[in-house]
């Protein structure tokens, strides 16, 4: 009898321990999960007012320097019809975000979902207060870029004719513009599949140089019209940078669009060739200037082609065809 009672109490004890252990493990799991998901961490709120809420959803990740620091808490429509997106972010990151920070909507990787990117802002300025309203920036779409290139193509003739007047300045081998063009050459040489990133850096450097040239235009005392022309030229080149970034984020569907851009670059290049011949009639020296511009476009085209061929599509460098020297058309008197 005693033995059977002992047996029952021992079983009860074992079951008790088992249940306690189970509950303990469950609590531990909940604790770990909550710690990892920052359920109990202190939060702060920031707001952003995008033009439309169509690209946002509640719970959408907000990243800062590549780290997830929170998500969208609420999306609401204000009385004035303005969209208000409330971002719930971890308090411990607040000291890192300064005034001047903006929110951008971007695609994560080639096929990834869209996320919000919070920039650091101006580090010389104080950190953001809880409840601050941030500026919203849209990533430049390829369509916009191509649209913005169109006027460039249309204006190519004017651009080149005016470039002719700039020839003396440009023909100086040590001029900033020459150095920048050399920079573009470096880019097209360096684009080899995996080092697209390096090429982008190189491109950014070149654009900075071009920016510097444009900034110095007033000092060069060039006529206003010519200065505008060079600015226009610079803007054409600048369009390549966001395009490359968009290529990185939009993936395969971009290829068709980049083909369109390539077509524009080709058109611009072709018109450059025609202008080159026109310029030669005006002054032999000018041919070199226009040829240089054409060479730059050629390099832009090469850059685009290499981006398409090496990275997204094939992963290998484009096949090089041996270049054949062109033959002049035969001169025949075909008059009947």
């Amino acid at each position: 009898m005693v033995d059977s009672l002992n047996f029952v109490s021992s079983i009860k004890r074992q079951v008790g321990w088992f249940v306690i252990l189970g509950i303990g493990v469950l609590i531990l799991v909940i604790l770990i999960a909550s710690m990892r998901s920052h359920v109990f961490a202190k939060k702060f709120y920031l707001f952003v007012a995008p033009p439309s809420a169509s690209m946002f959803y509640e719970g959408q990740t907000v990243k800062f320097q590549g780290f997830g620091i929170g998500n969208i808490d609420r999306i609401s429509l204000q009385d004035e019809g303005q969209v208000r997106v409330s971002l719930r972010l971890l308090e411990r990151y607040r000291p890192m975000v300064h005034q001047g920070a903006v929110v951008q909507l971007m695609k994560e990787g080639l096929l990834g979902e869209q996320i919000l990117i919070l920039t650091q802002g101006d580090t010389s300025k104080p950190m953001l207060n809880d409840g601050a309203i941030l500026a919203y920036e849209e990533e430049a779409s390829l369509k916009q870029l191509i649209t913005s290139l169109k006027p460039g193509v249309i204006n190519a003739n004017i651009l080149l004719k005016e470039l002719a007047t700039l020839s003396l300045w440009m023909n100086d081998p040590y001029s900033d513009l020459r150095v920048s063009m050399a920079g573009l050459r470096e880019i097209s040489e360096s684009v080899q599949g995996e080092n697209v990133h390096l090429a982008m850096q190189s491109l950014t450097n070149t654009l900075q140089k071009l920016d510097a040239i444009v900034a110095d235009l007033d000092e060069q005392k060039l006529p206003m019209q010519l200065a505008d022309t060079l600015r226009r030229g610079t803007s054409i080149l600048k369009n390549i940078e966001p395009l490359s970034k968009a290529l990185a984020s939009d993936g395969v569907e971009t290829i068709q669009r980049s083909n369109d851009l390539l077509k524009h670059v080709n058109e611009l290049s072709a018109s450059m060739t025609v202008i080159t011949t026109d310029l030669s009639e005006v002054s032999p020296e000018l041919t070199a200037v226009a040829r240089d511009s054409r060479a730059t476009l050629k390099e832009m085209r090469a850059l685009l082609l290499k981006l398409q061929n090496t990275w997204l599509v094939a992963g290998s460098s484009p096949k090089k065809k041996p270049k054949k020297l062109e033959t002049a058309p035969p001169v025949l008197n075909l008059q009947p």
Partner: protein, 283 residues
């Protein structure tokens, strides 16, 4: 047996790995003079297409200098030929002939058959216009470029070798590509065939060829060829109404006026007067 099989499989795998995995990180080295040569030549060809002869001469001369610096026979020969075409188009016949002689001697020395034939055909075309003795042209092999067959077709036409001319124009059409240059060659060959048909009094065939030329010209923009085709159509003895013939003659004249082609303009005007007279008689 199994061991042997495994060895073969491993060997094949290794071979295929070698074949597919070989990648070179060697940087591409390009001769800058060659790049300039291509650029100058491209601009020269464009200038030729736009009939800007002084520009073509200037640019092809620069290309020739680049070819001399590159010091490679094939490019040098082609550059001499290109510059000769620009001289010929600008009616600088002496310089054109001298350049063609250079092309010919270099092509013979380095056994570049295509350029040798080109030079000989062009020299013969110049000599024909000056009633001089002909160069002996080697038999045309197959697989030559369209421009060579075009020149050969024209020369045969001038020499009244109609069958040869037809064959060569047909070969020119076959050898032409579908790009702008190719279509331009096709249009020239079709115009040549139209002239042959007209000579053989087959007005309908001549009309068909000439209309094809006009279609291509409309596509690629070759105003001079278009004027030639219109003039040919206007001058056909039958196959077109009086009104149509007058219209083509007027269109041809307008183009020649715009192109400052005095000779073409005169021919078109003469034909126009003839057509107007005949229409008045008809009334």
């Amino acid at each position: 047996m199994t061991r042997r099989f495994i060895t073969i499989v491993l060997f094949v795998t290794w071979l295929s790995a070698c074949a597919s995995g070989h990648k070179t990180n060697m940087p591409t080295i390009e001769n800058p003079y060659l790049q300039h040569l291509h650029d100058f030549t491209h601009v020269g060809v464009e200038a030729m297409q736009q009939e800007k002869w002084p520009v073509a001469i200037q640019v092809f001369e620069k290309a020739l200098n680049m070819a001399k610096l590159i010091n490679e026979p094939a490019t040098l020969i082609r550059s001499w030929y290109n510059v000769s075409m620009a001289y010929k188009a600008a009616s600088k016949m002496q310089k054109a002939e001298a350049s063609l002689q250079q092309t010919l001697s270099l092509a013979q020395l380095h056994h570049v058959l295509a350029d040798e034939i080109r030079a000989k055909l062009q020299l013969n075309l110049i000599h024909f216009a000056q009633d001089r003795q002909f160069e002996e042209v080697p038999a045309l092999p197959t697989g030559l470029a369209a421009d060579i067959y075009l020149m050969a077709g024209k020369l045969a036409y001038l020499q009244h070798h109609e069958q040869h001319s037809k064959q060569r124009y047909a070969l020119a059409i076959r050898a032409s590509g579908e790009d702008r240059v190719g279509l331009s060659s096709q249009a020239k060959a079709l115009l040549g065939l139209a002239q042959l048909a007209k000579r053989e009094t087959d007005a309908q065939l001549a009309k068909n060829y000439a209309l094809k030329v006009l279609r291509i010209c409309h596509q690629i923009g070759e105003p001079r060829l278009s004027a030639h085709a219109s003039l040919l159509l206007a001058g056909l003895p039958h196959g077109l109404s009086q009104q149509e013939a007058l219209d083509y003659a007027r269109r041809a004249k307008n183009i020649y006026v715009l192109l400052h082609d005095k000779y073409g303009q005169k021919k078109a005007e003469m034909l126009l007067q003839k057509l107007i007279k005949s229409s008045q008689i008809f009334r």
